[in-house]
């Protein structure tokens, strides 16, 4: 069962993410028990564990799509584990961006429109120029007017990262960003995410089963496989 690996407690600084005594399960199956995690603003952390260890559940809990059975989750000091749906929507909108394993670029619109849509939904009035600046930073400015299906996987992944960053989140979550990549590309993606998070002052939480990323991250939280009804 996943357990606390480390938590950062810096007095007088509001953590970008704080999970305190989280218990969550599905029926008799306990996924998380007494789980604690804290990330200071700008901190980068690897959340590593095999399939079924609760990484996706944890992401859904942090995003407020699931409510923990017990415990509290705060993002940028705002409680997202409780309250009305509108309250949780507002916290997510203001502070969280996610890069999904499936990337989930909106296929009906081009890449720059994907970025602008994300900015609008986050309540920002970002310009097309700002979107283009981010795409340039990620080396895909020439793909600004391309539709998602016209991009390679690597380009689409960078577009998804740009879309997450344009929302200026306090917490950037990347779900299995290197799952389909070879060693070199996996290392490149890991390095790129770290560089971008640092450049944009965003806390970065990468949820992965990919051990190859471990050397890049000073802070690592391990999740272990769960066994029905009990914890390992």
């Amino acid at each position: 069962m996943p357990r606390l690996t480390d938590a950062t407690d810096i007095p007088d600084v509001v953590p970008a993410l704080n999970l305190a005594n989280i218990h969550h399960g599905y029926g008799e199956v306990s996924i998380l028990r007494d789980f604690n995690l804290s990330m200071a603003p700008g901190q980068q952390r690897l959340l590593i564990g095999p399939s079924g260890s609760g990484k996706s559940t944890l992401i859904n809990l942090i995003c407020g799509f699931l409510r923990p059975d017990r415990g509290t989750i705060r993002v940028a000091g705002k409680l997202i584990s409780e309250g009305s749906e509108a309250t949780r929507d507002a916290v997510r909108k203001a502070h969280i961006a996610v890069v999904f394993q499936a990337l989930r670029l909106v296929s009906a619109i081009d890449i720059s429109a994907n970025l602008l849509l994300a900015a609008r939904l986050a309540g920002l009035r970002s310009s097309r120029q700002e979107a283009l600046g981010l795409l340039t930073e990620l080396g895909i400015a020439d793909k600004a007017h391309a539709r998602p299906h016209q991009l390679s996987h690597g380009e689409a992944q960078r577009a998804a990262i740009a879309r997450a960053l344009i929302a200026q989140p306090a917490l950037l979550i990347a779900d299995e960003p290197t799952s389909a990549l070879d060693q070199t590309n996996a290392e490149n993606v890991g390095a790129m995410l770290l560089r971008l998070a640092e450049a944009h002052g965003t806390s970065l939480l990468i949820a992965t089963h990919d051990d190859r990323l471990r050397p890049f991250f000073p802070a690592v939280t391990e999740l272990k496989s769960t066994v029905e009804g009990s914890a390992q």
Binding site: S56, E85, D89, R92, A102, A118, R120, L121
Partner: protein, 417 residues
């Protein structure tokens, strides 16, 4: 979000076009029905506003009214001029205006009558003066617009009412335009008015000032080869085609037509009654077409529903992503609803254009439509209701898919790769 909705619609162009087409046909059909029935009703009501009774030759009363009041059909025949004097002598009659029909200029009927006919249709001169001498004419606004005829213009009339009857022109006796009427929206817009004497002179029919004493020379032998033509042409005497009667009092409506129909060889027909009868004849067809229009509307709504239902299921990942990025349930609901509304709005506008375009095409291509006074440029407030109804249909069709997608549990959708 509107841009996103438009992008979704553009992404599946064919399905969107099919949805729009289905609902547009329904909207177009309903607007077409509304336009044609309302314009015909108005045409019939306005055209006969001051005419209580039409007196003419025996035959179909509807034909008599259509030919003499609305100038849409062939006359039932001619009647002696003495009938006019008799009617004018009747105490129940306020006014009696004669008509002599039979010729046309480029398809516009030349009507021998008296200046009082202009007042009967409440028409006013836009230019020139009323006809006074033989061969002088006053033309309706539509005649002026269609033929380009101006004051002082000379033209030659042709036998019959059809435009292609020009081979029997009255070359020796040209008419001259002395007045042009302002538009009225009534049948007079399409008429060329002249004196009774003009018509008789053109046809070489002798006439005297005493009503009922004319005799013919020189016209009836020309171009009488067809029976249909014979009916259109004047008889050998200085006869008249019909008389438009206004009652002195409402009580005349009961007694006068009955006495004419019973005691004389003439026929009396009430324009109001015949118009109502004609419109009643159309009612079953109008109702059937309205039902068909509504059924098509239902089919259009169902098509939008199926399309949106499939679209939101295929788009669950996108919509879940929008939620992650900050959209709340209400805006997701609104996105799907907006898609239905946009489809319906485009359908309604396409239907509106289709209906008015078809009316324009028909008025340009079919003389009968033009003669019926159907205009493509008239708009009725009910059209706004039809458009609003179509939008409501789109909204209702989108409600269930929109509600369904907001009920989605996001976690399992986002977990899917």
């Amino acid at each position: 979000m509107i841009r996103l909705v438009l992008a979704y619609l553009a992404e599946r162009k064919l399905t969107t076009a099919l949805n729009i087409l289905l609902l547009a046909i329904s909207v177009g059909m309903l607007i077409l029905l509304l336009q044609s029935t309302r314009q015909l009703e108005e045409r019939f009501l306005d055209g006969a506003e001051n005419i209580d009774l039409v007196v003419g030759a025996k035959g179909s009363p509807l034909q008599l009214v259509l030919s003499s009041v609305y100038h849409l059909d062939q006359p039932t025949g001619n009647i002696p001029r003495t009938a006019l004097a008799e009617l004018r002598g009747n105490p129940m009659v306020s006014s009696a205006i004669p008509l002599a029909l039979g010729d046309n200029f480029r398809g516009f009927r030349i009507v021998g009558t008296e200046p009082a006919l202009v007042d009967l249709y409440a028409a006013e001169l836009a230019a020139g003066r009323g006809f006074a001498q033989s061969a002088e004419v006053v033309i309706g606004a539509e005649v002026a617009a269609a033929t380009g005829a101006a004051l002082g213009q000379l033209f030659i009339g042709s036998h019959g009412f059809a435009e292609d009857g020009g081979e029997q022109g009255h070359d020796a006796t040209p008419f001259v335009v002395v007045g042009i009427l302002a538009p009225t929206g009534k049948p007079v817009d399409r008429l060329i008015l002249t004196s009774m004497e003009s018509v008789w002179d053109v046809h070489g029919i002798e006439h005297s000032d005493t009503e009922g004493s004319g005799s013919q020379h020189g016209h009836s032998e020309a171009g009488q080869s067809q029976a249909a033509d014979d009916m259109e042409h004047h008889s050998s005497d200085a006869d008249i085609t019909a008389i438009l009667v206004s009652y002195r009092s409402p009580a005349a409506a009961v007694r006068l037509p009955a006495s004419i129909n019973r005691d004389t060889a003439l026929q009396a027909a009430s324009p109001a009654r015949e118009s109502t009868r004609l419109l009643t004849l159309f009612e079953p067809a109008i109702e059937a077409l309205s039902l068909l229009g509504l059924l098509l509307g239902g089919a259009g709504a169902f098509a939008i529903f199926v399309t949106l239902w499939n679209a939101v299921r295929a788009r669950e990942g996108d919509l879940a992503l929008l939620r992650v990025m900050g959209a709340n349930r209400a805006s997701i609901f609104g996105t799907v609803l907006l898609e239905g509304v946009i489809i319906a709005l485009l359908s309604a506008l396409a239907g509106l254009l289709f209906a008015h375009g078809l009316l324009w095409f028909a008025s340009q291509s079919y003389r009968s439509v033009a003669e019926a006074g159907i205009s493509p440029f008239r708009f009725y407030p009910e059209e706004v209701w039809i458009v609003a109804g179509a939008v409501m249909v789109g909204m209702v069709a989108a409600l269930l898919p929109a509600w369904h997608v907001t009920r989605n549990n996001l976690a399992p959708i986002l977990d899917r790769n």
